[in-house]
Symmetry: C2
Subunit: 192 residues, 2 copies
DNA sequence: GAAATTCTTGTATGAGCGTTCAAGTTTTTG
DNA sequence: CAAAAACTTGAACGCTCATACAAGAATTTC
């Protein structure tokens, strides 16, 4: 299975290089050359593994969406009771593995390009639906029907906004602090 | 002054065409040809008026930032009392002249490209500072110092998030409804 | 260890783009 | 109405970049 190992290794290296390169230059301006240099490989090898630039970007976003999904499941599994489940779902978005400048920047580029790239649009739509129903479910035992939808929308808008900001500033990011802020925001939303 | 009139007219036409074209294709993929066609002009004429594509985009964002500034001043002028001033500052972001799919989409593209285009970065930095200090000032008479900064950050993140969503869905947008949501969010933030 | 498969890359190609320019048209000026 | 200024554009230029390809290196297989 060493064959499989090389392939997976290159996928990882190239995706990580893509994330760094996108953070530096943006989705549109980044070139295959630049990503290749960042990964210590050649532009042609990216084509060998991913086919086209678009597919590389798609694979990169799949990776990040996978990290979110995994963090969500992990945190939900440890949560006991409705309130803890909501906090877990929110905190997953600010997990150490996800809430870094690099990754937020890539996510913002994803937001900007998804509407114009069908393959990305599809990913985006699916993820959005997943997150929406997750939060709707988490809020169901906590709020009466009349307030639920507004709370869900506010929560998601706030999280997106925090990511947006995170993508735009410099310096390292404190994910743990963000999770504390998030918990406070949830408390405010639930009015307790 | 008919000379001046043609120039201003073309500026308006081209900027409006740019907004529509960017909404359709995105900042990166849109071509000068496409914008020109949208405006019923030639690509060369855009160069005559704006010099480069980058400058056209800059002018377009200056226009939108101007709309926000104007809406803010207009609403602040009519507001009486600290609470009304805060509501006015928030509502300006959802003014009919600003809160449309088209304009939110352009704004999102601006967010995505500003970090990598110095002229846009500058605009972005200036606007961000303006808005931040405006909200800080509006909150000063309403909250004790300990809660103020968190409320400001939450408010701005929420507004950005709402714009982000607005940019990504389809169909017309109800600005008046958004202003009502915004007022409710402000009330929640102030815990009343 | 030889054959087959997988991996890697330098180079070539071709498309698409922003920008320039010169030549023409329209509008303003005096 | 004639000279000047402002406006408009088709066509051409030059450049960048993603992608394709072929030839060779490394690794796996049997």
């Amino acid at each position: 299975m060493a064959r499989r190992r090389i392939r997976d290794l290159r996928h990882d290296e190239l995706i990580e290089a893509t994330i760094r390169a996108i953070r530096r230059s943006g989705f549109a301006a980044v070139t295959m050359q630049e990503i290749a240099r960042e990964a210590g490989a050649s532009a042609a090898s990216i084509n060998y593994y991913f086919g086209t630039k678009e597919r590389l970007l798609e694979a990169t976003m799949r990776r990040l969406l996978g990290v979110l999904r995994e963090a969500t499941l992990r945190r939900l599994a440890e949560a006991e009771g409705p309130r803890a489940r909501l906090d877990a779902a929110v905190a997953a978005n600010f997990d150490d593995a996800l809430f870094t400048r690099e990754r937020c920047a890539v996510w913002m580029q994803f937001w900007a390009f998804a509407p114009h790239v069908p393959r990305l649009a599809r990913l985006h739509r699916i993820n959005r639906a997943r997150v929406r129903s997750l939060f709707a479910a988490a809020l169901r035992p906590l709020l009466p029907e009349g307030e639920r939808e507004r709370a869900r929308a506010a929560l998601q808008a706030w999280m997106d906004g925090v990511w947006l900001e995170a993508a735009q500033e410099e310096g390292p990011l404190d994910a743990a602090a963000a999770r504390r802020e998030a918990a406070a925001f949830v408390a405010m939303t639930l009015r307790d």
